[in-house]
């Protein structure tokens, strides 16, 4: 067989196999060159910026660039050495440098991440740095006893290199104790990882509500005649096309204390004028508004799967004696699984990273992880923001990978 194939030639005398391979390679190249401009565009304007930002989560030179003398001392003395007079002399010279370059705040901030309350230690000491005289150990301890704290020295040792995992330690609600071991922070200081978990729980709740609401609607749309279904579909698509800010505004108008729903309840006498229910600027508000915004993303994939389920299967089940519940559970539901999977994963992915709605209607307890990233951005804690962003991104990408495995990214449809 292969002999025959190798003997076959094209009109110009080349072996057919080689000619075919060249033609296929050319077709491949052509297809790839069509995609290349966009791929380059996305990599440059989207992937590189994100990668660059994430690098900040492990790179922070706020402390390291101001402490040349201390860095030398740390290199000369192994970890665990009790700081001697030479160490304090190095510290004093670096504090002087900080004073000249006005970097004491930055350096203090970097240490403050690891041992809280230490920012003022640096600013205060740098202010007095010019007056320091040997012996430096006594002089510095005179300014503040905290300079003795081994946690401060451990923190300075790790921070003397710009590359660090400290921000992930904080993001996972851990800290290093005096011996340098990782321990959980106090219950009331666990903020980040707790919020991370909470964000996934809230996203799961929103997804579950969306599924419960979307399932009957998608079923109705899928079983109605086409003309009627298209008409009702507009009710799903119109919110989908309406601005997110408009929909969020509407929910503020509907749910706020002096808003439409409370006013109706008062007018009907269900609640008193002083008993208006707080439904917005808290977690309830976030969940209601986000369910509304994400519901179309659940209805559409469910609908496209349900539309092609042949009604004869359920009829056959009924004629064979199954009750309507059994028919639903054993025959209909299993066939909708692809739609459920697609909708659930899509809504969950979008909900986990949501920012706008919680920021506007979330109040104090309705904030999600994205809002925490934004909070640290506005505080110029770039590295902290980047570490939190990385955590969020990893969570989302795992879900995205799962979506691609289970459903296939090319099956994604809109409207």
């Amino acid at each position: 067989m292969s002999d025959v194939a190798s003997q076959l030639t094209t009109a110009d005398g080349r072996p057919l196999k080689a000619a075919l391979a060249t033609a296929q390679a050319r077709a491949k190249r052509r297809a790839f060159f069509l995609v290349l401009p966009l791929l380059a565009f996305i990599v440059i304007t989207f992937a590189v910026p994100i990668g660059q930002m994430l690098q900040r989560s492990v790179y922070n030179d706020g402390f390291s660039q101001t402490v040349p003398a201390l860095t030398q001392w740390f290199e000369a003395n192994p970890k665990g050495t009790v700081p001697d007079e030479a160490a304090y002399a190095a510290l004093a010279s670096d504090l002087n440098l900080m004073k000249e370059t006005r970097m004491a705040g930055d350096a203090g901030t970097r240490i403050n991440y690891v041992v809280s309350g230490m920012r003022s230690l640096f600013t205060k000491s740098a202010r007095k740095a010019a007056d320091l005289e040997p012996p430096y150990m006594a002089a510095l301890l005179d300014i503040d006893e905290d300079w003795q704290d081994p946690r401060v020295w451990n923190a300075m040792r790790t921070a003397s290199s710009p590359w660090t995992l400290d921000f992930y330690t904080i993001a996972f609600d851990r800290e290093r104790d005096a011996d340098g071991k990782l321990v959980k922070v106090d219950e009331n200081q666990r903020i980040y990882f707790k919020l991370y978990i909470k964000t996934f729980v809230v996203a799961a709740v929103i997804t579950a509500i969306c599924l419960l609401l979307a399932f009957p609607v998608a079923h109705l749309l899928a079983t109605l005649p086409m003309a009627k279904a298209n008409l009702l579909m507009i009710l799903v698509l119109l919110p989908f096309w309406t601005s997110l800010l408009v929909r969020t505004t509407s929910w503020i108008v509907l749910l706020q204390g002096q808003g439409v729903i409370n006013s109706i309840l008062v007018a009907l006498g269900i609640i008193g004028d002083d008993g208006r229910i707080q439904m917005i600027y808290n977690q309830t508000g976030t969940i209601i508004a986000m369910v509304h915004i994400l519901l179309p993303f659940m209805v559409l994939p469910l609908y496209s799967v349900m539309r092609v389920i042949p009604p004869s299967y359920t009829r056959a089940a009924r004629s064979l004696g199954a009750t309507s519940w059994t028919t639903f559970r054993r025959i209909y539901l299993p066939q909708t699984i692809p739609g459920i999977g697609a909708g659930v994963l899509l809504v969950f992915i979008l909900a986990v990273g949501y920012y706008i709605t919680p920021a506007l209607v979330g109040g104090a307890d309705g904030q999600l992880f994205s809002n925490m990233v934004q909070f640290h951005m506005t505080k110029a804690n770039w590295s902290m923001a980047a570490a939190l962003a990385t955590m969020l991104l990893v969570g989302v990408l795992v879900l995205y990978w799962l979506y691609d495995r289970l459903i296939g990214i090319d099956k994604l449809k809109l409207g």
């Binding site: 304007t45 990668g51 706020q256 439409v260 706008i356 506007l360 934004q374």
Partner: protein, 312 residues
């Protein structure tokens, strides 16, 4: 869905409940959008229906919020409404400026993402395309990655785009180019999804037919492929435009005071002091989205008819 004649009373009751649930969900979906429309004509600065509004008293309604919307930011809003007043409005009114910015940014972002996206979709739907799945996953990712991560990343990158090469070359933050590039990246997944969906029903033998009849690839593309996928391309473009038109987080991070868009103005309006003027904007945006939805639906049906999908 009709109920079979053999349905038991329990099933009938359940069916009725099911219909009620569906109606309630539809109400939940649509009422927030409709409820703000009359409120934007409220004569009082309240977010609820006044008694005069409910009794359809003309005094309960007014255009004052639309008026304040137009005139805010003008130098002489109280002046006589002559040519100078309109020129003042066109150049100085906050929301007019925002609308102009939104349209300019949306337009260029749409052009960029539609051209690049359509080309890529053509490549992606060829059977010979190598690494299709991976590339597709990368191209769709702007839709999946949380917007706050995208925006912060772009904020740093656009502050100094050449930083990766180790030197400075100006900045893209606070420029139209920066915002347009960001919005184009965010709109691309929608173009890719819509155009590849259109191309999935495309009969590849038409291309071979055109070639066998002597058309060169360019002529084939413009005379055969383009007319058939045009509805898909336009709806993809509309999706990209809406994405840009509704985007606020990237604008918050990248844009300067000269690039404030409608969503950006709404954002500060909602955060600071929410006044019914916001509802007037919202109403205008709802009207725009109804128009866009109508266009997209017409295009979708046309595309299905062209491809013979909905022949039955």
């Amino acid at each position: 869905m009709a109920l079979p004649t053999y349905a038991s009373p329990l099933e009938r009751a359940w069916h009725a409940t099911y219909l009620v649930i569906c109606v309630l969900v539809f109400v939940f979906l649509i009422s927030p959008i409709l409820v703000i429309v009359p409120l934007s004509f409220n004569a009082e600065p309240y977010f609820t229906y006044t008694e005069k509004m409910l009794s359809f008293d003309a005094e309960g309604y007014s255009m004052r919020w639309y008026d304040s919307l137009l005139t805010s930011g003008m130098q002489a809003s109280e002046a006589v409404r002559d040519g100078a007043w309109w020129s003042d409005l066109w150049h100085n009114a906050d929301w007019v400026k925002a609308a102009k910015n939104s349209v300019i940014i949306g337009f260029w972002a749409t052009i960029l993402s539609t051209i690049l996206g359509t080309l890529a979709a053509l490549g992606l739907s060829r059977p010979e395309m190598p690494w299709r799945r991976t590339i597709m996953a990368i191209l769709i990712s702007p839709m999946i990655v949380p917007i706050i991560i995208v925006a912060t990343g772009m904020f740093f990158f656009y502050s100094n785009p050449c930083a990766i090469f180790g030197f400075g070359c100006g900045r893209l933050t606070s420029t139209y180019t920066g915002v347009v590039l960001a919005h184009a990246a965010l709109g691309i997944p929608f173009v890719i999804i819509t155009v590849t969906a259109t191309l999935s029903g495309f009969d590849q033998s038409l291309i071979r037919a055109a070639a066998s009849l002597g058309a060169n690839p360019r002529r084939t593309f413009f005379k055969v492929v383009m007319p058939l996928i045009l509805p898909g391309v336009i709806s993809g473009g509309l999706f990209a435009f809406v994405t840009s038109f509704d985007e606020v987080v990237a604008v918050l991070f990248i844009a300067g005071p000269d690039q404030q868009t409608i969503p950006r103005e709404m954002w500060s309006g909602i955060r600071e002091q929410i006044s019914p003027a916001i509802l007037a904007v919202a109403t205008i945006l709802v009207v725009i989205s109804i128009a866009l939805l109508t266009v997209v639906e017409i295009l979708r049906r046309r595309s299905e008819r062209l491809r013979g999908v909905a022949a039955h």
